[in-house]
Each structure stands twice: as structure tokens, then as C-alpha cells.
Subunit: 282 residues, 2 copies
Amino acid sequence: MSITKISSQRSFDGSYNRFKHQSQVLGCEMTFGIYLPPNMESRPSVPVLYWLSGLTCTDENFMQKAGAHRLAAELGMAIVAPDTSPRGEHVPDDVDKSWDFGHGAGFYINATEEPWAKNYQMHDYIVEELPALIEANFLVSDKRGISGHSMGGHGALICALRNPGRYLSVSAFSPITNPVKTSWGHKAFSQMLGDNIQKWREWDTCELISSAQERLPLLIDQGAEDEFLHSQLKPGSLSSIASRSGHVANIRIHHGYDHSYYFVASFIEDHLRHHASALIEG
Amino acid sequence: MSITKISSQRSFDGSYNRFKHQSQVLGCEMTFGIYLPPNMESRPSVPVLYWLSGLTCTDENFMQKAGAHRLAAELGMAIVAPDTSPRGEHVPDDVDKSWDFGHGAGFYINATEEPWAKNYQMHDYIVEELPALIEANFLVSDKRGISGHSMGGHGALICALRNPGRYLSVSAFSPITNPVKTSWGHKAFSQMLGDNIQKWREWDTCELISSAQERLPLLIDQGAEDEFLHSQLKPGSLSSIASRSGHVANIRIHHGYDHSYYFVASFIEDHLRHHASALIEG
């Protein structure tokens, strides 16, 4: 459970820190960022929002670009941003070094097929190993929220849906809602999970939500000018299924916005307040 | 005066746009970013804050990392972020390709020595060509503020001090206040301005402020843990000279903060409000 500090920077009177550690689950060294709000000692309980980033990102993109520290400091919330896949020279990567599979594209699932299964166990890392590490090493509570962008929005949704009780709040920006029906999902799932599509469905938000018992209030933001909206993200499918299944899903489509972090930054305040209402005020 | 759009992205209901244009002053193609607040048409007058970035930066760093769009949208202020030097294969660069001279390090001065003089005329670009271009192409007023970080903080201060009446407000983060006495300044000024130190003094805030007639309210923020504080930045020198010369300089030293954009983001709201009080409410 040991972690090594890489850097620490003051931000909005709190601190943004990067750590590395040896992951047992992933079989490689991993890096994560953690924003700690000011006055940790004097707060009764600091909850943790886990942020999962999208394809090609590392632990750094969200912390640099989302403008989330300001409100996390004000609300008294920690934010943890892990990397998006296992990494290292010994960790298999896509043969073509493409940007949508392999390193930087773990899809937050547990691979069953080799050569991926040995390292690509991102679901278990995010849901089990990382929170245990965070809660053992920082003055935070076990109240957890989860959010993310694109592949990370998919990750947040499947982690919450597969693990009732583990998260008190969930939200997503521009999530891949139905990967079994899109090319990103096909490419990753066929290699990591094999040819049996029944197995893919266990990692698909639209499939999972129809049978989920837990009713977490769900906030999803999507840009109307997002270049991946119709081909990869499909929020309309999720909206229909969630509504039929009795889930309270607040899915907002925003005119003019694209897939970038400028979109995330524009609405991150609403997401942090959504999580705070479950994690702090709740 | 023609400009070509590279990209446009919605951000906080306004838009962040990047343009390129052929600069007559610099003799090369230049790129700049401009944030335009929402509802431009219905506002009587949108002032422009010019942001000058530091060593190694391009037009993009501030726009991605400072979290400034939120408040610029709320206040109704445009922000223009130019590049930090002329660029292009035909533009001379440091022989050693170092990070503190040449491309990415124009120091916002007008070079007099060759091979630099032909392109490195960043002062005239920032003060004259760029505002003329902005005011001809966008629905903005001629009310201008100027700010920046590190080398760009130096740039903001010398542009304001050398051009009374051109800016209604000025501020800086971690500025190089006294380049004639530091190694960054020596390296750049000796090559771009030659050996006569008298000429260097015309581009040094501590030298300029002692004889400046205009009294602009000056906000300067500096991190106490900034690795360049004592070697390159020297806010104490500026504080003494400004005070002796009767300038109202609010120089704040912030415990724990470093030289990064996390520091800038933490206090950018104060700077935007400082500028708004002169540009909008004034």
C-alpha cells in the first residue's frame, strides 16, 4: 500500500499532488493525481470524487484543464484522477500504436483474453485497489463519487452500475453509453473480451442500466456539436432505456459544445455540486 | 489585416477561437487565441484583456490552463493570447535551441541587433499591430488591459509603462521585474540589444517605473515557493522602487505557491476583476 510522491503544488489553497505506486491488480507502476482541499484536518469528513479520463489521456489532463480545483476547494471535496490504462514497456500495446486501443485506452473493464488479461484489469483497479490505497494514505472518508469524460464517462457509469453501494453519486460528460454497438467498443471489447458478445454486454451502460436495482441520481452532459455524438456516444439510447427502467437520468444536450475539455470546464461546477449534494450535504 | 480561423470552440457560452495571420511587424505567420464572451451583439462595449505568456509557451497555455473563461464570460470581457515570439523556419532561433532564448522567448522587446532585429519586434506587435487587428476584426472596444505571467508579466508591465494611455489597467503574475540584473535578461538582451546596458534599461520594469508619469493601479501576484523568485523575478526590487516613485502597487506574496499555472488559476479571478474595474465599471 505504499505510494511515492512525484510532485506537490499549491492550488486554490489546497494541494494538487501526483503519486506513483506499484499496482498489484495491473502488474505495473501507476501514476495518479489527487487534489486535496484546504483545511483537511479541521473538516469532519472529506469525500472523494474519482474522475476517469478519456482516450489518450493520462492522470494530468483533467487536473490541468477542467478548472475543478476552485470548487473542490470551496466544497471540501478531494478529487482523484487515475491514468487511463496500465502502462510500461512490459504492458502490451496495440500493434498499430493507435490512439483508441492499448496504452491510454483501458476502457475500465477487466480483460479476459491474452495478452491483455495479465495487465488490463482497470475496473478492479478503479473500484477496489485505488480507493483502498487512497483511503489508507489520505485523511478522506469512504464516501465516494465517480465521474468521467468520454471513455471515462463510460467507465464511471459501468463502475457505479456494477457495484451498488460503492458510490453515492455518479455523473458523466459525453459518455460512450452503448459500446457494444460502436466501433471503439468493438475494437477494444473483441480483443480484450473475445468474440462472445454476451460478455461485452456486462460492460455496457445501456445493457447494465436496464437491470440495475440501485437508483443513483444520474447527471449526464453532452455537447450537440460533439464529433463523436452519433457514431460513438449515443446518449439517446441511454435516455430511452434509463427512462423505461425507472432511473432518474438528467441528460442535458448543450447547443454548440464539442468533445473537448472546454466543454467539461464549462459545466464541471454543476457536476461537482451534483456530487456534493450526495457526498457532503447528503 | 486579414485573419484566418484555425478553430472555434464553445466555452462558458462564449467562444474560444484561434486565428492565424501574416504579421508585417514580425515578418512571419503568427497565431493568436481570442476568448469572446457570450452575447457580444447586445453588449454596449466589450473591452479586451491582452494576456502575455511566459517562456516556452504558445498562444494555447493560458487558454487551456488558467480557467479564465468562466469569469470573462460573466464580466463580458474578451481575452487575447498571442504567441510568445515570432516563429517559422526562417525565423532565427537560439543555436542551442535552449528554452530561454529564441523561439518561445521573444521577451516582448524590439531587437536592434541582427539576426534578431528582422523578426523579433514583439513590443510593436503586441502594442500596435495586434490590437489594430483585433479591433478591426471583432466587435470589441478600444479599452485595453494587459497582463501576463513570468516573461509575460515583464511584457505586460513594460508595454504599459512605455505607452501611457494605451492601457487602462495592468497586472502581472510572477513577473521578471528587473531583467538587466538577471541571467534570463542578460542572455536575451545582450543578443537582441547589444552590449550597451543603457539600451537594456529601456525594457526593464524597475528602470521604467521610476520615471513613469502615468499612475495605473498595479496588481502583482507572486508565489513564495516559486523556484525563480530570487534568481530571476525580484518582486522586492520593484516594490521598493514603485513605492519610492509614488506608484500604487499591490504586490502580494502567496505562501506555498510555485511558478505554475496552478498558481495563475488560483488568483486569475482577482486579476480579471482588477481589470474589469478599469475597463468595464470605470
